[in-house]
């Protein structure tokens, strides 16, 4: 197998996870116009919850399902308890632009602190239901494991579910309407407060899944998902911040791109590359590589 092809295959499963994280960030951005730095903290906490479930019950499946559910509940609670009151008090005036950013950064630190208090700071191996060793096809080994296959499948399933909800349901329609113009949506009878809490909840669930999918191939620590947050942001910005499909494609593109950098330039360059891409897109094409210019009111 050619090096190029195997490099791209490596990028596929990572790209799928970046896509999930990008979608989580986009969901929150679209529903509340908040850039949620706490997403990494939410995901890491729900992953630790999954780890604890696995330790107690031994069931990987129960762990992954409860991680996702916990992530969803936590996301909804954060909107209700923190973001909603914050935007009510600091939602207009000069502090409106900075308050949510500082608040979610602060929440990130709090969540990571909580994780450190309960589980300590050491690196933990997170289990996996499938082998992380490369599959072999026709006698030759490929850099794609059964777990990678599961990762790509699970990410795809979540994206299809979201796409179904957004395109084919009344709830999705109200979410799209509320994201575009809350006042007009309210006049059309949409309870925008509830709709945005559901948006935060969906985002928390997607982030939780991203956490349990990425940790078996790396390790788990209170700040182990910080890098995933950066990659998720980059993917979301590449995709234009508004479109879920854009975020999914952005994640895949970044996965492939970083795999190429890792293969041909070395691991010390991947982090920097992601930042360079993030800055370049923001500077040169802030509407994203996939987004349309001026298509939306922010």
């Amino acid at each position: 197998m050619s090096t190029l092809l195997s490099t791209l295959i490596t990028g596929l499963s990572l790209g799928a996870i970046y896509s999930l994280m990008a979608i989580a960030l986009i969901l929150v951005w679209r529903s509340t116009r908040v850039v949620n730095f706490a997403q990494a903290g939410q995901a890491v906490l729900s992953t630790y919850i999954g780890l604890e479930i696995h330790r107690m019950t031994g069931s990987y499946w129960l762990a992954i399902v409860l991680s996702i559910i916990f992530g969803g509940v936590l996301g909804g609670l954060i909107d209700l308890a923190l973001v909603r009151p914050l935007l009510r008090r600091a939602g207009s005036g000069p502090e409106a632009a900075v308050a949510p950013v500082i608040a979610t950064l602060g929440l990130l630190a709090v969540l990571q602190g909580v994780v450190g208090m309960f589980w300590g700071g050491e690196l933990i191996k997170f289990p996996s239901a499938f082998s992380t060793a490369g599959l072999s096809i026709g006698g030759s080994k490929i850099p794609f494991s059964a777990f990678d296959l599961f990762t790509v499948g699970a990410s795809l399933a979540v994206m299809l579910a979201f796409s179904f909800i957004f395109q084919r349901t009344g709830l999705g329609l109200s979410m799209r309407a509320a994201a575009f113009s809350p006042e007009v949506a309210q006049l059309a009878g949409v309870r925008t407060g509830r709709v945005r809490t559901i948006g935060w909840s969906f985002a928390g669930a997607a982030g939780g899944l991203a956490g349990v999918l990425i940790t078996p191939t790396t390790f788990l620590a209170p700040n182990s998902l910080d890098l995933l947050l950066v990659f998720g942001f980059t993917a979301a910005v590449v995709g234009g911040l508004e479109s879920m499909i854009g975020g999914a494609l952005g994640g895949l593109a970044l996965g492939f791109g970083l795999a190429l950098v890792l293969q041909y330039a070395g691991s010390s360059y991947t982090f920097m590359t992601a930042f360079v891409v993030l800055l370049a897109v923001l500077l040169l094409r802030p509407q994203g590589l996939i987004g349309k210019r001026g298509g939306r009111r922010v």
């Binding site: 179904f164 349901t169 009344g170 709830l171 109200s174 113009s181 009878g189």
Partner: protein, 258 residues
Amino acid sequence: MTSPILALEGVNVTFGGLRALSDVHLEVFPGQVVGLIGPNGAGKTTLFNVMSGFVTPESGSMAWEGELIRFPKPDQLIKRGMARTLQGVGLFSDLTCVENVMVALTHKSRTGMLSAIFGTYDRDEAKLRIRAMEALEFCGAADLANSKPSDLAFPLLKRVSLARALVAEPKLLLLDEPAGGLGAEDLRWLAEIIKSLSCAVLLVEHHMDLVMSVSEKIYVLDFGQVIASGAPEQVRQDPGVIAAYLGAAALGGNNAAH
């Protein structure tokens, strides 16, 4: 005697020391078309904003179908049986026209997360789509269903936003300058459709020919106060009203209020 579907009493609104509405009263009876006119800045849109929950009055009461109620929040309007169009069009440019209309029906569908995930919505969605198509058809915009608002001319967008207001079958329709930007042909269509509605209509409009021809009763606002009310002929001849509009030619000409 039937009670009014909507009755406002003693509505006062102040913006930073400036009195926007002063002791405003207004009644609309079921099925009645009521015009609300006045020079720019007279408080017409503010009054609409009070009725639809975007502005909280300092004092005043609102009775709905004979019962005193709190001023509704924006998202409760439709459930109450009211619908409001906006100046301009206020459509969601990311959604197709039929989806724009469907949004006004989502409050009726079960918006639980679980039923969304497990697909009981799909059937629901089909029902919403059928009703939205009927409303578009009623407004002569059925063939625009799958277009995006950004691809359409302004008068067509007005039809779509009217369809969105009508789709939930309101008992009272609040129309905020529906004639703005319309040509003669579309104006005739608008007058016909307003006359054909079975619900009550409260119409804020600058286009005097339209207001005079469709309204059974007209309220005139000036500097936040009701300075006259009555049948169109009565209001047209009211000296106070003529004085308020002085410098803007006489009432009855096109767009006399501008």
